[in-house]
């Protein structure tokens, strides 16, 4: 959590942080005011699956995989967005919570290719989810309309992260949004025009936050298509962008002496995990 230490006009330090006490799975926990239930869970080391949540974006609580039981609430609540309140009693280990998480995993896995989505397969075994019983996702070729990154809609779980990163959570470019509705909802540009025809500035911040590899670096896509993408063979080295003087922290993902992906850590005070087109894609001159 970012803590700001603004100084008043007189140079004095202003910092007020009130603590809130609540109960999670029978254990008391204190978190600063403004924290979420998820923060409280993390503080206690309670493992909570999340997909649409990211530290550097506003929670949209759309995936619902992080739901928990809250005493007094008729329905389950999304822990990623629900603010902690004093005396809340939260349970994460009930049959009701496990059943909802299992179903959310099944609904997602039955409609989207989640194979590149981090912990997804582990969670499926942890929650005994069998997505196939609800259906299998259909495959569609990726959209390739530029040389920097591709869009593979068969992997898109509509988590809104890319929309937020493109919009007022970071980039303020507003090139992509949620369009349509319900089952026809799709993240796209206006009238689904190609990215080069849209307002896109190719910062790749959408790629950086995508949890399912629906957005991939062009090179990553080539390797994945060839079956050569191998996380086990990749190293990640933290360094600093070679362009302007902002000093953005880069993580160079290298496979076989080749940069295949560039990210920035979301806890970097310089970048908050976001980069520009040069930092994200401007390494072609190396090797």
């Amino acid at each position: 959590m970012r803590t700001e230490k603004p100084k008043g006009r007189d140079g004095g330090l202003v910092q007020i942080e009130r603590m809130i006490e609540l109960e999670v799975d029978g254990r008391a926990v204190r978190v600063p005011e403004g924290s979420t239930i998820l923060d409280a869970c993390k503080k206690l080391g309670v493992d909570t699956p999340t997909l649409c949540f990211a530290e550097n974006l506003t929670p949209v609580n759309a995936c619902r995989v992080c739901v928990v039981e809250l005493e007094g609430s008729r329905t389950l609540v999304a822990s990623c967005s629900r603010k902690a309140e004093p005396k809340m009693v939260v349970r994460t280990d009930t049959e009701r919570v496990r059943s909802s998480r299992k179903m959310v995993l099944e609904l997602l896995g039955s409609s989207v290719n989640m194979s590149a989505a981090g912990e997804f397969e582990n969670w499926c075994s942890q929650y005994h989810a069998e997505p196939e019983r609800l259906g299998t996702p259909s495959h569609a070729p990726a959209v390739i309309d530029n040389d920097l990154f591709v869009r593979d809609y068969s992997r898109c779980m509509l988590c809104y992260k890319c929309v937020e990163a493109c919009g007022d959570d970071a980039q303020h470019t507003f090139a992509i949004v949620m369009t349509g509705r319900g089952g026809e909802a799709k993240i796209a540009t206006e009238f689904d025009v190609s990215l080069p025809e849209s307002a896109c500035v190719f910062c790749g911040n959408c790629v950086g936050v995508c949890p399912t590899a629906a957005l991939q670096f062009r090179r990553e896509h080539t390797l994945r298509e060839a079956g050569e993408w191998d996380l086990a063979k990749q190293t990640v080295t933290k360094t600093v962008c070679p362009y302007c003087g902002v000093g953005c922290v880069l993580e160079l993902h290298v496979q076989g002496d080749e940069i295949v992906r560039v990210t920035s850590p979301s806890d970097s005070s310089v970048t908050d995990g976001h980069l520009c087109v040069k930092g994200r894609f401007g390494w072609g001159y190396v090797r």
Binding site: T239, V246, G247, T271, F281, Y285
Partner: protein
């Protein structure tokens, strides 16, 4: 409140601009001072379309507005500054109405900025090369400093003066003494005590006088006083103003060594080329960003072919010149440096790693680093010297417009490209377009040109051919070129090598040109 002055940060410092955007979301107010309505200006609450070269007049008129409305911070001025009376006297002539002819800015906008700047809890002025690429660059900067002093907008969190660095280690180069008059940690080379420290440590003598700036080096070449040059990671044959002239001087050298990743235009002229590693991905070390944050760069890849680390090259050179440096690691060199530089003393590699970089000064290994400077100006009484006002008069650009060369050319960067293009050439962004001369719709019409038509842009120093493109953000009479594609559009053939006498920067932002039709 944030003032971006002569900075198109949205495109040239995109991630810095994310921080500005976050501030805007939290209610901050943004003023953008720029001759062009840039993509940055589109996010501003107010855009002040300053005339190219009118910055001092504008700053002085802002100061006059502040003073005439009694909004200056008198307590701060009295306690922490000097030479205020001379400043107040000078700016009293710059009423917004009188200054408008020089600055080009509507008096009501001047007064609005003045009021907001003076009354904001925290106000910051950030600038880029729009301020410094002028023949009166230092006076431009002083004018901005004057405003911050006048309103007490300095030395506090969220207030202050913030030059945005254009390269990832401009600040670090200066920190490390890559300045003609400084040793590492900004210690004066002409100070015998400072020099002595290093001489004892290095077991060598250091020339007691300050050296030449880049501009002075070219002057020295003209005088044949400088005949051999070792260029590391620079491309002066394309990046310097009045490129014809510069190339002539480089060609006239007895010996030119170029150490670079690329066979640049400069390298093509070299006697010897030393292939180097990419600093950010093939080397170990540190860089310092615009906020004085020292951060680690690390090797992620082995360098290609015969490319060698800069440190290795320098050590080998020393060996051949008769001194064995051994094969020091980056960390060992860093530790040696910080022993003598109090600004950096508390920054071990371990701490840099753990804290995600540290902002200097960081004098010891308990120190958290310094998010902002000059806090001492708020102490009663002030420790150390007071901050002086520098009264500056308006100066016109070195090259006036006339009937022969009636248009003002200003140059700058674009989002997806960088400098002379050697690094960004491989970046296949759909936004990279062939270089074009941007003109206002009025000038396009006045010159009876069509968009896309090729023209010849001519200055007193040279000419380039380029297609024209309309930019509605340009005022009449101003045209814009980047210098990213020198192979096809050698913009710096046009620019003027009128340099600031103190800083040595050339006036890339203001040349006089005319547009000729290509038959």
């Amino acid at each position: 409140m944030i003032v971006l002055w002569g900075s198109n940060a949205r495109e040239t410092h995109p991630i810095f601009f994310h921080h500005v955007l976050r501030a805007l979301k939290r209610g901050a107010k943004l003023y953008v001072v720029d001759p062009r309505v840039t993509s940055t200006a589109r996010f501003a609450h107010r855009h002040l379309p300053v005339r190219v070269g009118g910055d001092i007049a504008l700053a002085n008129s802002i100061a006059q507005s502040v003073l005439s409305e009694g909004l200056e911070n008198r307590a701060f001025i009295a306690r922490a500054t000097e030479d205020f009376d001379a400043f107040a006297k000078l700016v009293s002539h710059y009423t917004p109405e009188r200054a408008e002819a020089m600055s080009g800015v509507d008096p009501s906008l001047v007064r609005e900025l003045a009021r907001d700047f003076a009354t904001a809890d925290r106000a910051m002025i950030c600038w880029t090369l729009g301020i410094t690429e002028h023949h009166h660059a230092v006076e431009n900067v002083w004018s901005l400093i004057n405003l911050a002093l006048l309103c007490g907008q300095v030395g506090r969190y969220g207030a202050g003066l913030n030059p945005l660095r254009g390269q990832n280690n401009v600040q670090g180069g200066g920190d490390m003494g890559a300045l003609p008059h400084k040793l590492p940690g900004f210690q004066d080379v002409e100070d015998p005590d400072a020099r002595g420290k290093y001489e004892r440590s290095w077991g060598a003598t250091i020339p007691p006088n300050k050296g030449w700036t880049l501009t002075e080096m070219f002057r020295a070449m003209e005088r044949k006083e400088l005949t051999a040059l070792w260029v590391i990671g620079e491309n002066p044959a394309q990046s310097e103003a009045d490129a014809h002239h510069v190339r002539g001087l480089l060609a006239g050298l007895d010996h030119l060594v170029v150490q670079d990743l690329f066979l640049t235009r400069t390298a093509e002229m070299a006697t010897v080329v030393l292939p180097a590693c990419a600093g950010f991905a093939e080397s170990e070390g540190t860089v310092t960003n615009s906020e004085r944050r020292v951060q680690r760069v690390r090797r992620a890849l082995p360098p290609p072919g015969d490319a060698k680390d800069d440190l290795w090259i320098v050590a080998q050179m020393a060996k051949r010149l008769g001194r064995d440096f051994g094969e020091p690691t980056a960390e060992a060199l860093w530790d040696e440096m910080r022993e003598h530089s109090p600004l950096h003393r508390g920054m071990s590699y371990a701490r840099l790693e753990a804290m995600g970089g540290i902002q200097w000064p960081c004098p010891d290994d308990q120190h958290e680093g310094s998010p902002f400077l000059h806090e001492r100006l708020w102490e009663e009484p002030v420790r150390g010297p007071k901050a002086p006002f520098h009264p500056c008069e308006h100066k016109e650009p070195a090259e006036a417009l006339d009937d022969e060369f009636p248009l003002r050319l200003t140059t700058g960067r674009r989002l997806s490209e960088f400098n002379t293009g050697v690094q960004s050439k491989g970046l296949a962004s759909p936004l990279v377009k062939d270089e074009a001369l941007e003109v206002s719709p009025q000038d396009l019409a006045a010159l009876s040109l069509l968009e896309g038509q090729r023209v010849r842009v001519r200055s007193r120093r040279g000419a380039v051919e380029v297609p024209v493109r309309v930019d509605r953000g340009l005022p009449k009479g101003l045209v814009f070129l980047s210098f990213h594609q020198p192979e096809s559009v050698d913009t710096n053939l046009l620019t003027i090598e009128a340099t600031d006498p103190r800083a040595g920067t050339a006036e890339f932002k203001a040349a006089a040109v005319r547009i000729e039709r290509c038959e």
